[in-house]
Each structure stands twice: as C-alpha cells, then as structure tokens.
Amino acid sequence: MGSYVPNTLKERDEMLKEAGYTSFEDMFSCIPDEVKLKEPLNLPSGLSEMEVARKMEELADKNTVFKSIFRGAGAYDHFIPAIVNSVISKEEFLTAYTPYQAEISQGILQSIFEFQTMICELTGMDVANASHYDGATAAAETIPMCIDRKHKTAYVSATTHPGVVKVMQTYCFGSNTKLVVIPSKDGLTDMDALQDALDKDPEAACFYLQQPNFYGSFEDAEAIGEIVHAHGAKFVMGVNPIALAIMKSPRECGADIAVGDGQPLGMPISYGGPYVGFMAATSAMMRKLPGRIVGETTDNDGNRAYVLTLQAREQHIRREKASSNICSNQDLCALTASVYMAAMGAEGMAEAARQCMAKAQYLRDELKTAGLYPVFHGPFFNEFVTNCPVDDGKLLDALAKEGILGGLPIADGSILWCVTEKNTKADIDKLVAIVKEITGKGGLSYESNF
C-alpha cells in the first residue's frame, strides 16, 4: 500500500507516548464509540506508485484523443506556448495557498497584480479581481453586484452559452432573483424584445450579453448597451479573451462589468476544467466586486509591496451580510493566463485571433461546397452554425474515424463548428472531403492518405 506518512512505526510509538497516549485507540477515545467506524472502508487496498501510474494510464487510454478538434462551445483548443507549462509547474506556485502572509507571498501577490492589469487591458476596464472559478460562475456572480432595492430583475440574452444561462439560473434560484431570458432573432439578441421587456420593468437590474455569442456571431453590443443604460440597468458583457485582442473591448461598448472564461489563454481543454473566470469592472463598481483583489502598497521601509486588499467586501468580514461566499480564486490558472499573454504579447494574440477568424471563414466557405450551409449570416469570430442535411451522428462518426472531432450538434439538426489557429488548411480540407463523402456532394472522393 502507498503512504505519504514519513514517521516510522517506532517514531509514531514514541510520539504517542510523549503526547501522553498508550496507543492510537487511546488517542481516538475522544470520538464516541457509536460513531466510530467498526469495519474497514469498503475500498481496494492501496497501490504502489507504479501500479497507480499504470491504472491512471489505462483510464486515460480509454478516452479518444482527437488529432484535430473543430468543436468549441465553451472549450477552445488553442496553441499553448511551451513556456506556460514550464512556469506553472514550479512547485512554489503549485503548492502555496492563498497569499495570507504577504511577506512570504510577494511572488504570488505580484503575479495576481500583473494578471489583474492584463485583464483590465484586455477588457478596457479599471479594476479586475484575482479570478473566479470559471466564466459561467463569474457571469452568475455579476447579478448580485447589480441588484439593490430599486433594481431587482436580471436579464440575459438567449444567444448566451446555454451552460452559462443554466449556471445563472441556478444561482438565481439560490438568491430568489428573477432572471428573464430575452429571445434571439436570426442568431442575434432580439433588440426589440429587449427594449419591450425593459420598457415594462422599472426594476431592471442588469442585462448580460455574450460577445461573440454562443453561435459565434458578433452582436451590436454598443446599441444594446445603450438600450440597457437608457433603462437605468447595468450592462454586463461576457467575452472571449482571444477575440478581445482585435475586437472592441467591453469598455468601448459601454459595459459596466466584463467577465469571461480564460481557458483559451493557455489552458488545455481537459474535459472541462480547471479553467478560470475573469471579472473586471469600472471603478464605480470596484467595491461591489466579489473575490480576492490584490493592491499595491509599501512596506515599513517604503519598498513596493503587494497585499490582498479591499477585504471589507469579503465573506470573512461580512459573513451573513456578504453577497458572495468566494474565498479562493483559480490562481494557478490565472498565472497560466498571465504567462500565456506575456508569451503571446498583444501582436501574437491579435495574430491568433485573426487566424481563428480567417480559418473559420475558410471552413464555412468550404462546407457550403459539401452541402452544409450557414444558418446565420452576419459577421462571426471562430464559430458558426450550419445546417446538417444528413444524420449528424453518422457525419460525426465518419470524422471521428479519421481522428477529427467535428462540430457540436445543437438543437434542430444544426451543427456549431469551431476553428482555431491550430487547425491547418490541410486539416480543414480533410474534414470537408469526409463531409462530402457523407453528403454525397462535390464528387471528390476522400482518400485516407490526405
């Protein structure tokens, strides 16, 4: 069996005696007999490291690892520079806890300060927190920031990722907040419906818009922001951080709060986690932000120093008056994002974003020749929806056989495709050739030596 207890049996005996006990049983007499376990746990015996490694490899091997991935919907397969993994494997970063003791945690505190700065730069906002569990929980936690006695209803666009909407709904079930979903029209937020809904509700608190939206399309965020503000509500945007390198920032669109999932910034897709949420706001909303925030100050010798700050907002001070219970952050993931952004730089991120867009456009054009036509028609980033004239399961299986994870089937026989800078033209051509085989379009037969 495996064990990480260093002290030998002899040492344990000595320590028991020195602590005044005759045995472990004697020490545990503080646990009443009625609740003590009578039988050993019904678990297998422990294993050696070699056996554990083998078992975990066996489990990993039962999964299919696709050579190329054309599926996004909240998990994006971007290129990850080698320096990222090298930095985040450093044991100091990996094994430390929340930096409560500033004097021996300057490294982590400074890295969070740098992360906050980079998130502010991306979003155009004044202040960012130290990070959140993921994009969906960050989105959900913007609602209590906007609720007060006069503003009680939260709104979200139907073009938002359905998982994000569901997390918001679950959080609102908790806080007894009314959350209204504004319908979509042609793959975009129905602005008339939004206008109508807000006209009828003097207590609107906030509206959440995802940009680019779940279908990959760019929304007219500025115009939507104006409608929201005209009704005295807060405008909250959920954004893709890679797109922000080239896309109008939430600040430029008039947002009060910007959130998003930082997974595209150097995190592998990892079956859904860990990822990282980011949250930034205008300075007017700084004291409403949940979570940790690092601030710059000086030490008793006047040296620059970093500390956790504005803690009067937080659960350990406010307890039952707190509007959020978060007391950690996804620090190692925030560090991942920082190293990614430092390695890519503004130009590298913009190039990645441009390639995502160009390659998505190329796939979309090529799929038309295979009989898969776009469902929506406005400008889009790296995701788009097509119809699917054949059984989507059959199509996806044919792609999977050749090591390709195809797009995600979404409601009513359509597919949401995603392309990143990692997908080469050859990958795309191969995908399209297989699709043609299945749809019977184009006459070109696919050869597996592509």
Binding site: L41, A102, V167, N176, T297, L310, L332
Partner: protein, 479 residues
C-alpha cells in the same frame, strides 16, 4: 523587483505561430478594437527569469513547513501530477460524445463512489470548484428538498459562531436567514442554544466535526437528532475531514449532505488559491436534486451521462475541475482502505504531539486531546508583553516556517491555529516547536523585536490600511 510590464522592449517577442495558410479576412470596422492593448513585449528568456524570481518570493509546501490551520497543507504527491498531465485527460473535449470519453466517465464514477464510501453518503457531484462553492451547492440541495415538498416556511440556517465566514455567506447566497448560535464553554455546540434555535422555520444546520477549534463534538448524534426532529437537514462542512477519514463518517453521524475539499484532504495542490475542488455528497433522498450530468451504468456496458430528474441545474460549466479530480483519484488509489485511516491517525498524532510540547509555554484555548489541529490562545501573552498572535506569526516567518492561521476561529481572540498534517517528519515539527518556544521567550525579553518582525523576509510588514484607503489595483501605462 520589477513588474513584468517594466521589463522588455518594444518589438521583442516569441516566434510562436506559423503564417496563416488560408486567405486573410477582416473584422468589420464596427467591431474593431480601437484602444491600444498593452501586454508585455519580452523574449522567452526574460519571461522565464521573471517567473523564477517570483517563485523565489513565494513559500509553498515544497519550501518548508506550512501548518496553516483549517487549510490542510499536506504534501502534494507527484504521481498525481503525472496522472493529470496524461494526454488522454488534457486533450479531452468536455462535449465529446460519451463513447469517446469512457475513461473520463470512469474516473468520475470511481471518485464519486470512493468519496461516498469514505463520507458515508450515497451520491456525489464533482461540479463544485472549491469548498465555498460546495457549501453553496449543499445548501441548494437543502433548499431544493424543502421547495420540492412545498415546505416554504423553512427560511433559516443555523450556524455556530465558531464557523468559517463562508458558512454564513453561503447561507445568505441561498436566500437564507442565518441564525448564529453561541458555542458552549468547551468549544462545542451548546445543545440548549440549539434546542432554542430550531423550529418550523429551520431549513438546516451547517457544522464541521471536528469543529473549528479542533475538537470532536461528542454530542454529534444528539445535535443531528435535534435538527432532524425539527424537520431540518444537516450539512457537514468537510473542511476538517483529514482528522476523521477512515475513523468515522459524517453519514453515520446523522448528516444528510457534505462537501469535501479535494485540495485539502485528498492532497491536490492549492495552486496559490486554486484550482481546488469541492465535491458534494448526499444521502439517497437528496440525489435527485444534484447539479449537472450524472454518470450512470457500468464500464462494461458503457457509461452514460444523465441529468438528475429534479436537478437544481448547474453550479459550474461541464463536470467541475476534472484534472483536480484525476489527482484526487490517484491519491485515493495510492492510500486505499489502509492508507486513508493511517493518514488521519497520523494527522491527529502530529497535532497532539505539537500541542503537548507547546503547552509547556503556550496557553491552549482548549486543553484536551485535539483532532488534526489545535488553537493556541495568546491573550495572556499579549496582555503581559504586548506581543500579539500577529507578532508571533510574523516572527515565525524569519524561521522559514509558514505561520499558523491567525485570528480564527473568531471565538478565540488571539488565536493561532496549528495544523501540521500527517506528511511532516517529526524533526520538522520539533524545529517548529523549538522556534515557537523561542519566540515566546523573545516576546518576554524583547517585544519590540517581534513588533518589527519579520526581519529576513523580502519585504517588511506591508501597509494594508494604505492599500485599502488608496486602492492601486492595476499597473498604469504611460501611453
């Protein structure tokens, strides 16, 4: 040292991406970014050195003793990291079809089943990303249960005054009124206060056992019975599970739902504050309300994901912090049925060993057998010498030891809470005991020295008040 924005030069960078191999496209003007994006412009060498410097200004479990009470800073085994780095896990899309993710579903199922056995529960969800997130999920289970029964008058959650701040905050997030009950003199639940507090409006009780002062509450069966008889449910905060795993189970103590911290008890690294994982378990009658997709079936016939019939929804995207779960499973497989009680027994032994040796000088808040952690009360020392718990903690920094948790629980005013964990060799604890005893003497002889501590850290005490009064929360670029 410099911020990352203060190094590098315009035009530096890495060569990472190939040229685009398809025709370029352009974003319509309307959607184009017009403000400059300032990000570092550095060579790879500069990035590497910058973060190596930052790592040198950080204290992790690998650097030395980290007896931070209630945080269970145990050693983070490397085989766990190996498992979590396997391509078969990292390159897995969360929305790939079940038939292509059978190994991942098996990881989830094995972990859920193991946790259910260790905690004495029937079902688990791995969605919550942290302990506080688990508390929130657990309370939503309680809320779902009462709502489903149409029992809407249950609006109150009872929380002892010794609880972690997240407990009342989680209850508030679930729309509950928090009833704080005082602890009895021995630090345990005051049964009379509890009896007075429960009623038709009681939704539930949140409790840790061992409690936040490190004691096992002997009346636990009576406590859960009082709450159940009033129609409420009992929630177990698993923050202190490392003391009892394999010795006693919350499910056998009368708890209906629990959360556990994989980043504490199950050895996954804390990562400077995350990613953690806070799975939530429950008895069968609550399982229908669990969030997210549930793994069903057997590996032989094929595992499937199915939503629970009355699911509360989702508390996070996808299936939680999956790679953290992978690490925890590797740990559970390593320890097995013998290693799990061995770990808790040694966690408790190490704590009592330190407690007895330190009580030569330090006053203990509760002078009796503790579980995996104990609380020292420095009120008398402070009264006599002016040296506070904070001063002693800062003094400890100069010994290369991470200080215990300070000023928690709130019911002990000059508290230092020590949790050594089972993974520490005896001599490391002996050195820490020596250091703490020496600091006690220093407090008596030279209190000024400790008021000025630390003396050897990379910075002195930071001006926290100034930071809050004049918040500087980002770097400002000149252009």
């Amino acid at each position: 040292m410099n911020l990352i924005f203060e190094i590098g030069k315009e035009g530096r960078g890495l060569s990472l991406l190939p040229k685009c191999d398809v025709p370029q496209t352009d974003l319509p003007e309307k959607f184009k970014r017009t403000t400059k994006l300032h990000l570092p412009q550095l060579s790879e060498n500069e990035i590497s050195r910058h973060y190596t410097k930052l790592a040198g200004r950080t204290h992790g479990v690998n650097d030395g003793f980290y007896p931070l009470g209630s945080c269970t800073m145990k050693y983070n085994p490397k085989v766990n990291e190996f498992a979590a780095s396997l391509k078969g896990f990292t390159r897995l899309h969360p929305l790939q079809e079940e038939k292509y993710a059978q190994g991942a579903l098996e990881v989830i199922q094995m972990t859920e089943n193991s946790l259910a056995e260790i905690l004495g529960m029937d079902s688990f969800t791995l969605q919550p990303a942290a302990g506080a997130h688990g508390e929130f999920t657990g309370l939503l289970l309680i809320k779902s249960y009462h709502t489903d029964r149409g029992d809407t008058k249950r609006t109150k959650i009872i929380v002892p005054d010794s609880a972690h701040g997240t407990n009342p905050a989680s209850a508030a997030m679930c729309g509950y009124e928090v009833i704080s009950i005082p602890s009895a003199e021995d630090g345990c639940v005051d049964l009379d206060a509890l009896r007075d507090a429960v009623g038709e409006d009681t939704a539930g009780l949140m409790l840790t056992n061992p409690n936040t002062v490190g004691l096992f509450d002997k009346n636990i069966l009576e406590i859960t019975k009082i709450v159940h008889e009033a129609g409420g449910l009992c929630y177990y905060d698993g923050a202190n599970l490392n003391a009892v795993m394999g010795q006693a189970r919350p499910g056998d103590m009368g708890f209906d739902c629990v959360h556990v911290n994989l980043h504490k008890t199950f050895s996954t690294p804390h990562g400077g504050g995350g990613p953690g994982s806070g799975p939530v378990g429950c008895k069968a009658f609550l399982a229908d309300f669990l969030p997210g997709a549930r793994v069903t079936g057997t590996p032989e016939e094929g595992l499937k994901l199915v939503g629970a019939p009355k699911s509360m929804g989702l508390v996070k995207e996808f299936y939680g912090n999956f790679l953290v779960v992978v690490k925890a499973l590797a740990y559970i497989l390593t320890l097995g049925k013998e290693g799990i009680p061995e770990a808790s027994a040694n966690a408790v032994l190490n704590a009592n060993y330190m407690r007895v040796k330190l009580s030569k000088k330090y006053e203990m808040a509760y002078d009796t057998t503790c579980m995996h952690e104990f609380v020292m009360d420095l009120a008398e020392l402070k009264h006599r010498t002016g040296v506070s718990a904070l001063d002693v903690a800062k003094g400890l920094l100069d010994y290369g030891i991470h200080p215990p948790t300070m000023y928690f629980p709130l019911i002990v005013h000059e508290a230092l809470m020590v949790e050594p964990c089972e993974t520490e060799p005896r001599e490391v604890m002996d050195e820490a005991i020596e250091a703490l005893l020496e600091l006690y003497d220093t407090a008596e002889k030279d209190p000024e020295y400790l008021h000025g501590a630390p003396h050897k850290a990379v910075i002195g005490r930071p001006d926290e008040l100034g930071a809050a009064r004049n918040p500087v929360v980002r770097y400002t670029f000149e252009d």
